[in-house]
C-alpha cells in the first residue's frame, strides 16, 4: 500500500493504493460514484475523467501517476453536468444512464477543444464512448444542442 496525494474536484485528497491499482479503483474507493467500469480492455469510455484538464480513461492511469495532479470527475462539474444533462434528457438520450458520466466528461472536453465541431468531428471525438441503448443518434443531437447553447452564450 502506498499513500497518494492529488487534487480531486478542487480539493486535496490522500488515498491509499496498491502500486498496480488504477485511478479508476482509487476514485471508486473515495466514493466517486460517477465513474463506471464497462470493460477491462480500455474500450468503453465509461471511466473517463479529466486529468489536468484533459480527458483520460481512469482505468488506464496507474494510481501512482496521478500523484500531484489535478483530477476532475462529473461530481466536480455539477453545473455543466446539469446543462449538458438537460440536453441529453431533452432527447431521451441518457437512457439507462450508465455510460452518461463518461460520455459527458468527454463532451465537456470536446466543448473546450473544438466548440464548433461538425457531426463527423463529434462522432470521431466521441468514438471511444460506447453506448448500447441509444444507437448514438440522440446523443449526437444532444451534443449539437449543447454546443449551440454554449456558442450562443459566448456570442451574447
Amino acid at each position: 500500500m502506498m499513500e497518494i496525494r492529488f487534487k480531486l474536484n478542487g480539493r486535496d485528497v490522500t488515498a491509499m493504493a496498491e502500486a498496480d491499482d488504477s485511478l479508476y479503483q482509487v476514485l471508486r474507493s473515495l466514493g466517486i460514484s460517477s465513474v463506471k467500469c464497462g470493460c477491462e480492455t480500455t474500450n468503453c469510455g465509461l471511466c473517463t475523467v479529466h486529468m489536468d484538464g484533459k480527458a483520460v480513461l481512469s482505468c488506464s492511469v496507474p494510481a501512482p501517476r496521478c500523484a500531484g495532479h489535478e483530477i476532475v470527475t462529473l461530481e466536480g462539474l455539477q453545473d455543466e453536468a446539469k446543462r449538458l444533462g438537460a440536453c441529453l434528457a431533452d432527447e431521451g438520450a441518457e437512457q439507462c444512464g450508465f455510460c452518461a458520466p463518461g460520455l459527458m466528461m468527454n463532451v465537456l472536453a470536446l466543448a473546450k477543444e473544438n466548440p464548433g465541431a461538425s457531426d463527423e468531428e463529434i462522432d470521431a471525438y466521441m468514438a471511444g464512448n460506447l453506448c448500447r441503448c441509444s444507437g448514438y443518434m440522440s446523443q449526437r443531437r444532444a451534443v449539437r444542442r449543447y454546443l449551440a447553447m454554449i456558442a450562443q452564450e459566448v456570442s451574447a
Binding site: 444533462g85 431521451g92 441518457e94 452518461a100 448514438y136
Partner: protein
C-alpha cells in the same frame, strides 16, 4: 359519473425521463453504488473444460487464506434443481441447475464460490483451490446433440415443469414441437417456385454497459435482501428461494437503477452466488461480473439454424411457408422452449394475406456451450432473418422488386393470422410503414445498386418485422396509486425500468388519466415487499400490459375521489364531476378541491383513497416495422459500410416520441452490430474466444453515421391510449435488409451471420 377531460397532454408528449437528472449528474443510483461498505467480494472459479466431472476438490488452503470469509463448493449447496430463467411459474425452462454442480457442462460453469474482504484476496485464494477433473466427451455442435450417446443432463432430479413442450433429458432435448395449418406439402407442390434455404444466426451478446451484479444482506428480520440489477425482481425472489431451498417469505428483492438489460437480465445470472454466501456467513456480499464473465458465462441469444421452404406463384403471391428451427440452448435450458417459438410465430404471420398453409417445427437442444437466454427480439430476430431473407431471395428469383412482393403478401388490418396463434391483426399499419420507408430511403431511385465514381457500389435492401406486446394470457402487471398530501399521487409499480423509461411513460399515462401534470405522479419501483406484482419488463410487455393496469387503476381511483368529494359536498356521487383539480356539482356551483379531499382522508380515519388493479391480455397485438438499408461496398476488399438506415414503426399510439425514437434507433444499431460485426467465437475446446470488446466488436458511433426513424401509428383498441409495444420489434430488420443490400451490391448471398468482408469476397456470386 366521470366527466369531461381537461386539456392535459401527457400522452404523446416528449417528457423527460423522471430519473434523468440523477443519471446525468452521476448520482449513486446503481447496484454497486449503493452496496454497504465492507461487503464481501464474491468471485467465481470457472470450469476450464466444456464437459467434466469434479473428481476431487480441495479448498482447505483457500479457506484459510487471508481475508477469506467462505469458500463454497457443490458439497455445500442444496440438491434442488431450478432454472435461472425469469419466467412466470410454471416455467417452460427445465429445472436443470444447481447453484454449484459436480457435473460441469460448459467452459465457465462455476466450480467454486470464493468470498473475501477484497477482490485481491478472493482471487489469491482461488489459486489455492485444487481440483481434479474427469474430462467427458463434449458436444459442441447442436446438429450432433439429439440422441448423442453423451448426455448433458443425465441426472435423476432433472425436471420439466411443462412436459408438453417435448423436453427429454435422455435425448439432450429441451423442446420439440410443431404448429401447422393447411396442407403445406400440397401447397408447396402446387407452387410455381419454392425457395429452399438454410440460414444461421449466432449467440450474440446483449452487451449492456452495466454487467451482471447483485448484493445481498440479512435484514433486521433475518430475511435475505437482494439488491439486483434485474429485469425480473419477482421472478428472482422465486428463483433464489427455490435455489436456496428456503421459503419465499424469507426473500426480498429490490431493483435500483439498471445499466441496461436487453433481456440479459431476464435471467438470474448471478444473484445466487452472493445469496448463498450471505446465508452461510450472515454477512453482506456482492458480486460484480467482469466484462469477460459477461461475455463467457451469461445469457446470449440462442444460436439457430433455420431451414425455410417458401412456395410462391409466378405473380409473386406467397402460398406456403415451411420453417424448421434448430435452436442451441447450450448447457442449460433457460428460455430454450420459448425463444424458439418466436422464430416462426413472429415471422411467418407477416405473409398471411395469400397464404394457404404453413408449418413450423422446432427442436431445441442441449450442448456443452454457454447457456443461452433472452435477448431483445427473443427468437423473432433469428426467424425474421431467415424468412425475410427468403422473401428477398424469392423476389430475385422472380425478378421482382422485393417491395412489390411484400405489398402483395403482407397481412392487412383485420386479417386472422393462423401462424400467430390465430390472433387477428387488430391494428396494422405495415403497408404505410413500407411505403414510407421506401420514400425515406429513395428506394425507387436506388434499387438495386449503383456504381460510384470511386468504384464502390451503393445498394439498398429492405425487410419487415413484427413482435408481440406481452405474452398472451400470461403476462401480468399491477399498479397501485395512492392519493397523498395536497393531492399528490404515489404510484407503485412492479415493472422494471431498465433505462427504457417505463417509470416515465407509465407516469404519463397516469397523468393523462387523472388530468394532472406528470410531475404530480411519483413513481416507486421495484421492491418485492411493497410493489404490486408484475412479471417484470420483458416480452415487450410494459407499455401494453402494465400500461393498461395504469389506465384501469386510474379509473378506479377517479371513482373513489369522486365519491369522497361528493360525500364532502353532501351530494350523491352520480351528481358529482371530477376534473382533475376538484370534484364539483354537475348542476351547480359548489366544489371541493383535490387538496381538500386528499387532506380529509388523512383525518380521523376518513376513507382511504387508493386503488390497485392488475391487468393482463388474452392477446398480444404485434407492432410492425419496415426497415431499409443503404450500404457502400468496396468490391476490392469486401468491406461494407452502412450509409443510411431508415426504420418506420407502427407501435400504435406513441406515448413518448423521444423515448420511442431512441428505442428504435438503439434497436436498429444493435441489429446492425449483429449483422456486420458481432461475432461470438468459440475454439475447438468450447472456450469462448470473443471474451471482450476487443474481439466482440459492437458498433461505435462512427460505424453507422445515419439512422433515421419515423412512426406510422395505428390505434390498438385493447392497448392503453391505443399503444402497442416497441422495445423488441426494432432490432429485427437490419440483418435481412443489409443481407439483401449486400447481395444487390455483390451478387453474394450471405446466409450465416455476421456478414463479413471475407464472406463477401470469398463467397459465390449467384
Amino acid at each position: 359519473m366521470m366527466d369531461e377531460k381537461k386539456n392535459v397532454q401527457a400522452v404523446g408528449a416528449p417528457v423527460r425521463k423522471k430519473d434523468a437528472e440523477a443519471l446525468t449528474t452521476g448520482k449513486p443510483v446503481y447496484t454497486e453504488d449503493i452496496a454497504p461498505k465492507g461487503c464481501l467480494c464474491v468471485k467465481l472459479m470457472h470450469s476450464p473444460h466444456a464437459h467434466a466431472m469434479i473428481e476431487e476438490i480441495d479448498v482447505s488452503r483457500a479457506q484459510n487464506a487471508p481475508g477469506v470469509a467462505c469458500v463454497v463448493t457443490y458439497k455445500d449447496v442444496p440438491d434442488v434443481r431450478f432454472t435461472q430463467a425469469g419466467q412466470t411459474y410454471p416455467e417452460f425452462s427445465p429445472y436443470d441447475r444447481l447453484i454449484l454442480d459436480r457435473h460441469l457442462r460448459c467452459v465457465g460453469d462455476p466450480v467454486a464460490i470464493v468470498a473475501a474482504q477484497t477482490e485481491r484476496q478472493a482471487m489469491a485464494a482461488m489459486k489455492l483451490i485444487r481440483v481434479k477433473y474427469r474430462i467427458l466427451p463434449a458436444i459442441l455442435d447442436p446438429e450432433e446433440a439429439i440422441d448423442n450417446e453423451t448426455l448433458i443432463h443425465p441426472e435423476e432430479n432433472w425436471r420439466a415443469l411443462v412436459p408438453s413442450c417435448g423436453a427429454d433429458n435422455r435425448r439432450n432435448l429441451i423442446a420439440r414441437g410443431e404448429d401447422a395449418e393447411g396442407d403445406v406439402e400440397a401447397e408447396l407442390q402446387a407452387s410455381d417456385i419454392v425457395i429452399d434455404r438454410v440460414y444461421t444466426t449466432k449467440a450474440n451478446q446483449q452487451c449492456m454497459m452495466e454487467t451482471f451484479r447483485a448484493f445481498t444482506r440479512m435484514d433486521t428480520y433475518g430475511r435475505l435482501e437482494i439488491v439486483s440489477s434485474t429485469q425480473v425482481p419477482f421472478h428472482v425472489r422465486r428463483i433464489i428461494a427455490t435455489a436456496l431451498d428456503i421459503p419465499k417469505s424469507r426473500v426480498r428483492v429490490i431493483k435500483p437503477r439498471i445499466g441496461g438489460g436487453f433481456g440479459a437480465k431476464q435471467t438470474a445470472i448471478c444473484e445466487q452466488y452472493p445469496a448463498i454466501v450471505t446465508m452461510k456467513t450472515g454477512l453482506p456480499a456482492m458480486i460484480v461480473y467482469t466484462r469477460e464473465e459477461s461475455m463467457t458465462l451469461s445469457s446470449p441469444r440462442h444460436a439457430m439454424r433455420m431451414h425455410v421452404r417458401l412456395g410462391a406463384m409466378k405473380d409473386g403471391t406467397i402460398r406456403a411457408i415451411d420453417l424448421h428451427t434448430l435452436s442451441n440452448s447450450g448447457a442449460y435450458g433457460e428460455h430454450g422452449p420459448t425463444t424458439v417459438g418466436l422464430s416462426g410465430h413472429k415471422s411467418i404471420p407477416i405473409y398471411t394475406h395469400n397464404m394457404k398453409a404453413f408449418r413450423f417445427a422446432w427442436d431445441v437442444v442441449y450442448t456443452n456451450t454457454m447457456s443461452a437466454g433472452a435477448y431483445r427480439g427473443y427468437g423473432a430476430t433469428q426467424g425474421l432473418f431467415a424468412v425475410e431473407s427468403a422473401v428477398n431471395e424469392l423476389a430475385h428469383a422472380l425478378d421482382m422488386d422485393p417491395s412489390m412482393i411484400r405489398e402483395m403478401n403482407i397481412v392487412r388490418e383485420g386479417e386472422r393470422m393462423p401462424a400467430y396463434y390465430g390472433e387477428i391483426a387488430g391494428s396494422c399499419a405495415m403497408d404505410r410503414c413500407l411505403a414510407r420507408a421506401k420514400e425515406m430511403i429513395g428506394w425507387d431511385r436506388k434499387y438495386p445498386a449503383h456504381t460510384m465514381p470511386d468504384g464502390h457500389i451503393r445498394a439498398v435492401g429492405m425487410a419487415l418485422a413484427m413482435q408481440g406486446s406481452g405474452i398472451s394470457g400470461v403476462d401480468t402487471g399491477a399498479v397501485m396509486i395512492r392519493l397523498g398530501d395536497d393531492g399528490i399521487y404515489n404510484m407503485a409499480i412492479g415493472a422494471t425500468d431498465m433505462g427504457t423509461g417505463c417509470d416515465t411513460i407509465l407516469a404519463q399515462m397516469a397523468a393523462q388519466s387523472l388530468d394532472c401534470p406528470v410531475d404530480n405522479i411519483t413513481v416507486h419501483g421495484v421492491d418485492t415487499d411493497t410493489s404490486p406484482y408484475d412479471c417484470g419488463s420483458y416480452a415487450s410487455s410494459t407499455t401494453y400490459v402494465t400500461g393498461m393496469a395504469v389506465v384501469k387503476t386510474c379509473e378506479e381511483l377517479r371513482g373513489k375521489i369522486t365519491r369522497v368529494g361528493a360525500k364532502l359536498l353532501g351530494i350523491s356521487p352520480e351528481d358529482a364531476l371530477f376534473d382533475g383539480d376538484c370534484v364539483r356539482e354537475a348542476e351547480g356551483e359548489r366544489s371541493v378541491s383535490l387538496q381538500e379531499i386528499a387532506n380529509a382522508h388523512m383525518t380521523a380515519g376518513y376513507e382511504d383513497i387508493s386503488a390497485c388493479v392488475s391487468s393482463g391480455s388474452p392477446i398480444s397485438p404485434p407492432p410492425f416495422m419496415a426497415g431499409c438499408a443503404e450500404i457502400d461496398l468496396d468490391p476490392l476488399t469486401g468491406e461494407v459500410k452502412l450509409v443510411d438506415y431508415v426504420g418506420v414503426v407502427d407501435c400504435g399510439t406513441v406515448i413518448n416520441p423521444n423515448l420511442a425514437r431512441v428505442q428504435t434507433e438503439g434497436g436498429i444499431m444493435q441489429g446492425i452490430g449483429m449483422t456486420l460485426m458481432e461475432c461470438p467465437t468459440m475454439d475447438d475446446r468450447g472456450r469462448t474466444v470473443s471474451n471482450s470488446f476487443l474481439q466482440y466488436k459492437i458498433p461505435t458511433r462512427v460505424d453507422a453515421p445515419s439512422v433515421r426513424v419515423e412512426f406510422e401509428p395505428s390505434y390498438e383498441k385493447t392497448g392503453p391510449f391505443g399503444a402497442k409495444s416497441i422495445g423488441e420489434c426494432v432490432i429485427n430488420t437490419p440483418a435481412p435488409a443489409i443481407a439483401d443490400a449486400v447481395y444487390n451490391a455483390s451478387g453474394v448471398r450471405v446466409r450465416d451471420l455476421p456478414i463479413t468482408a471475407e464472406k463477401i469476397l470469398l463467397g459465390d456470386r449467384e
